[in-house]
Amino acid sequence: MIQFTDVYKSYDSGREALRRINLFIDQGAMVFITGRSGAGKTTMLRLIGLIERHTRGQIIVNSQNLERVTGNRIALFRRNIGFMFQDHRLLNDRTIFDNVALPMVVAGYSHQETRKRVHAALDKVGLLALEKAYPLSLSGGEQQRVGIARAVVHRPAVLLADEPTGNLDPALSWESMKLFEQFNQVGVTVVIASHDLEMIRKLKKPIVILKAGKLLTSATEPSEA
């Protein structure tokens, strides 16, 4: 469950990225955050993942008030979140297996468990055969799927994806969205920031629309967007 109550976010420069956001995303939901560039989509994801701190208000994620998550608790909190970026952020000097295994290794899972789950995640995204390859030898679509596998391998409660289809052609974008949908079906709360309205409409999922840091609509039906 994700809950924003009167949340503001402003930067040292004085720019207000988010203004009085009130939002509720139920556990196990799949929600799209959309809006123009600079509307605050990425900021919202960063606040949920504790990459940035909100300036005012209250954010609750998985029953945790984020204001009280400090020090080493931040690391433990992030182990329950899966991140997925437009630029994939893979480690180019590590194999695909090692990249996907990263959240498991960080959390201290055993080698056997890590191996089992990494293989399962790679199998799910259709890249098991490439586990020994390096990211730079893969296509953009394949790299993106590695990013998805890494984001879900540790079975997070929340999956945050920032413009995950930004660099992909429509067919690959659709394939990726279907993967997100499958993870959602097994109970993962999925929050995707995207401005690909056509795709969002096709998936018929709730939408959060942002405009210049303000919430226009919260969890509306795709047709209203």
């Binding site: 990459i51 690391a75 992030r78 960080v106 201290g108």
Partner: protein
């Protein structure tokens, strides 16, 4: 029953956490070794600089250690000569010798009677015939006192000399330790120089390791940020860097040790030749096992502290973007 279950579960938790901890440490160490191998040339240069920096104070320590051993070998030749009053009989001189045997600052004491002194003088002076013409033996009995090392190397020697000089049987007491005093002062100076040099070079080692680790952190900024994004704690991220610092320090110490072995081997022959000229069986000695252990511990410690200083700030500052 419940208590027992809870106890078992606590033990299981502990052993699970210990396993995770050990696994993460092994992984961090392997990651450090891998990182060192990836940039082998650069890292070997760093280790060489650390090794030379550690070899210098360790070398000075060896010089001091060997000089002190030289002094210990020479203590038998540094003696206090007690010239007794002419009227002190051989018997009385013998009694005085026995009285001084148990003195805490005296290692050994020997008596040269008037007759022995005359015989020796006759033998070595070449004035045998002239001495035969004398009615009386003009030479006094003498006690040769070999002080303990502490009396040779410290001011206690002066106190001993004064004490012995005040004895009623003693006419005069001589202790030629001026050169020993000079040597001791030089050794004190050298010791201070070694302490200062060691401190400065230790700081240099800290800076070298700290800077190497800092550059390594800057190069791995992206990786650190991604690790943090997926829940890595600062301690988890710091570990491989701390191991790298430790490896730099230990490898530098081992290199310093090898350099000292080579230096000792090169110097051994000339030093032995010099010792033979002084009728000494002195042999140059390198570091023993304990000293090698201390060198490795100091190197490893400096490596750890240097990297800890570097990682502490830089890793805290690196956040996911």
């Amino acid at each position: 029953m419940n208590k027992r279950l809870s106890k078992n579960s606590n033990t299981d938790n502990f052993s699970k956490r210990l396993k995770i901890w050990m696994s993460q440490h092994t992984q961090a160490m392997l990651s450090s070794v891998g990182q060192l191998r990836r940039n082998l040339t650069g890292n070997l240069f760093s280790i060489a600089v650390i090794g030379i920096s550690l070899a210098l104070p360790a070398g000075f320590y060896l010089v001091l250690d060997n000089t002190q051993r030289v002094m210990e070998n020479w203590d038998g030749t540094i003696q206090i000569a007690l010239y007794l009053q002419p009227d002190v009989s051989n018997e009385r001189a013998g009694i005085l010798q026995q009285e001084l045997v148990g003195h805490p600052l005296i290692e050994q004491i020997s008596l040269i009677t008037k007759e022995q002194a005359l015989a020796e003088y006759k033998q070595f002076s070449g004035f045998g015939d002239a001495l035969d013409s004398l009615e009386e033996n003009p030479l006094p009995s003498m006690l040769l006192v070999q002080p303990k090392l502490v009396a040779i190397t410290t001011e206690q020697g002066e106190a001993l000399l004064a004490e012995l000089g005040k004895l009623p049987e003693v006419e005069s007491a001589q202790f030629d330790r001026q050169w020993v005093k000079r040597l001791i002062v030089i050794l004190h100076m050298l010791k201070r120089a070694v302490v200062i040099l060691s401190t400065l070079l230790s700081i240099a080692v800290l800076l070298i390791i700290g800077n190497t680790i800092r550059l390594s952190i800057i190069n791995k900024r992206t990786e650190i940020a991604i690790n943090k994004l997926f829940g890595a704690t600062n301690a988890y991220i710091q570990r491989p860097f701390l191991y790298s610092g430790l490896i730099y320090g230990v490898a530098g110490s081992v290199l310093a040790w090898l350099l000292l072995i080579v230096t000792t081997a090169i110097m051994e022959d000339p030093v032995t030749q010099l010792a033979i000229l002084y009728n000494s069986d002195f042999r140059l000695q390198g570091l023993n096992i304990k000293e090698l252990g201390a060198l490795v511990a100091i190197g490893g410690g400096l490596g750890l502290v240097g990297s800890w200083i570097a990682v502490g700030r830089h890793i805290r500052d690196t956040e996911p973007v």
